[in-house]
């Protein structure tokens, strides 16, 4: 019963704040370019508008195209249960496992790539092909990063990890600093941000994520955008809960839950501003230069393992 309450609270909270972070990053980028930028609630308006619009499918599409938005949003929301942001619940079988978490995200990504191919348009195919190429390189790095995290915090369960990092500090585990650099790189890569992909472009030959969802319209597009926003929030939450877990609680009551929600919004907004500045500082890099970035994440996670050995 208590897990159901947690599931409802956590999911509702994540869905509520995800569009805010998306708009905030856009706003920061606009400011650094000397523009006013869209209002902070713009992503909410856009999602509401899209939900009202009708869906259009090409005649060439199959079932994949129709079910992918549902699969995506469901996978990402279930994955969000693995990353507590309101409070850390008691253990429940299966949830919080790193393997489950990563597989759910990859499953959603796989279906998105299939849907990109489904309509038979050249853009979609290119986007899928690029997404799979990038994933093939980043996936081993993600596994190494989470393995290092597991070695560091002596568990493969995300709930336990967050409890451990909540009870220790940066001084006890200085290697969390190194692993958070890797996590930041993963956040940038997985949410299709600038050195890897440009989220602003909607019709450009270099796009990756946007190319795959180009064929979607109406509420389907709203679901795809929402699942992207939620994915970004949960990856941010992993970063925040590992590096700066202050405010998160494992003893839920009305006060502690609201404190942890408020602190998460503040920390998330700070991180979103940091991501916005990070994006503004760099130019999109060539596809063949991307492994460079991934290798940095790889290096930092290996150094984390080394630091564990040196203890």
């Amino acid at each position: 019963m208590s897990f159901i309450i947690y599931a409802l609270l956590n999911t509702a909270f994540v869905m509520l704040i995800s569009p805010l972070f998306v708009s905030l990053i856009k706003k920061v980028k606009a400011y650094t370019q000397g523009r006013e930028g869209p209002p902070l609630l713009q992503t909410y308006y856009m999602l509401l508008k899209l939900l009202k619009k009708e869906r259009v499918y090409s005649d060439n599409t199959s079932l994949i195209m129709r079910i992918t938005p549902y699969i995506n949003i469901v996978c990402v929301l279930v994955a969000s249960l693995c990353v507590p942001v309101v409070y850390i619940p008691a253990q429940i079988a299966g949830f919080g496992s790193i393997i489950l978490f990563l597989y759910l995200l990859v499953f959603a990504k796989f279906f998105m790539a299939l849907a990109g191919l489904d309509a038979g348009s050249t853009f979609g195919g290119m986007g899928s092909s690029r997404e799979m190429t990038v994933s093939a390189v980043i996936e081993p790095v993600i596994i190494i990063v989470f393995a290092a995290l597991g070695l560091l915090l002596k568990t493969t369960n995300l709930y336990d990890m967050f409890t451990t990092s909540l009870n220790s500090s940066l001084f006890i585990n200085p290697s969390t600093l190194l692993i958070s650099l890797s996590l930041f790189i993963i956040l940038i890569v997985e949410t299709a941000r600038i050195p890897v992909d440009n989220p602003e472009t909607h019709l450009e030959l270099t796009m990756i994520h946007e190319a795959m969802i180009l064929e979607y319209s109406g509420s389907d597009l709203a679901m795809m955008e929402m699942s992207h926003a939620v994915k970004q929030t949960i990856l941010m939450a992993v970063f925040i809960n590992i590096l700066i877990p202050w405010g998160l609680t494992s003893a839920p009551n009305a006060l502690t839950v609201s404190i942890s929600a408020v602190t998460f919004i503040i920390k998330g907004m700070v991180l979103a501003v940091a991501v916005g500045f990070f994006e503004s500082m760099f130019a999109k890099s060539r596809l063949f230069r991307l492994p460079n970035l991934f290798m940095l994440a790889f290096f930092f996670s290996f150094s984390t393992i080394l630091f564990e050995l040196l203890k």
Partner: protein
């Protein structure tokens, strides 16, 4: 002389920063960022020396920290920036033998190799807790600097590689053996001499060693009868 566990933890965080800067020095292509990162690395190493001074109370360590900040965080980057301005190049895009990806992989392997070979004998030599990590990271940093020297083609990045190597040796010497202060001073003086020499030469160096060699060859006529 303070003996707090928190000092060890701070040292560990500083080690993390040293490794991060080393990885960035291997991969980054923009020369101004490279110089900034080198400057940050020197600050971090000075901080390590200062923390060790707080722990051991040896005045040599404090002097070393001050000397490091004065020479490597201010003087050397300042002179290097002037060299860079006179050279009209902003980025180092040429690599030899290894691309940055390869360098990072080799760097990771090297750290593990150093760790493995040191773990055979070093832990028995000293009971100091920070002695072993300090030695491993110092030597790996020196080796990474060496890797920068042989993978980069631009002269100015090669100098940075040499400086990184020197930082590694300094870190190693901080933890392993207390060198007499006069030797540390001489090393720093050598470093400054190297930079001054490089400044003089830089007016002749536009891009790489090979071109510089050709340029020098054109002067050989002057010495022939």
């Amino acid at each position: 002389m303070i003996n707090l566990p928190v000092l060890d933890d701070i040292t560990k965080i500083l080690f993390v920063l040293v490794l991060a800067t080393a990885a960035l020095i291997i991969t980054i292509r923009t020369l101004t960022s490279l110089l900034n990162i080198y400057s940050i690395q020197s600050w971090v190493i000075a901080a390590v020396a200062f923390v060790l001074y707080l722990k051991n109370g040896s005045i040599v360590l404090l002097l070393l920290a001050i000397l490091t900040i004065a020479s490597k965080a201010f003087l050397v980057p300042f002179v290097m920036r002037r060299i860079q301005k006179s050279m009209h190049i902003k980025r180092d895009l040429e690599f030899r033998y290894l691309t940055p990806i390869g360098s990072i992989l080799v760097g990771t392997a090297m750290i593990f190799l150093v760790y493995w070979s040191f773990s055979q004998f070093l832990p028995e030599l000293s009971s100091e807790t920070m002695f072993f990590p300090g030695a491993v990271i110092g030597v790996s940093l020196a080796l990474m600097g060496m890797m920068v020297i042989f993978t980069r083609k631009q002269m100015i990045t090669k100098i940075l590689g040499y400086l990184t190597m020197e930082n590694g040796v300094l870190l190693f010497s901080l933890f392993v053996a207390e060198l007499p202060f006069i030797i540390e001073l001489l090393i720093i003086l050598d470093l400054v001499m190297l930079i001054v020499l490089a400044t003089v030469l830089a007016f002749g160096i536009d891009t790489s060693i090979d071109e510089f060699h050709d340029k020098l060859n054109s002067f050989t006529l002057w010495f022939k009868e």
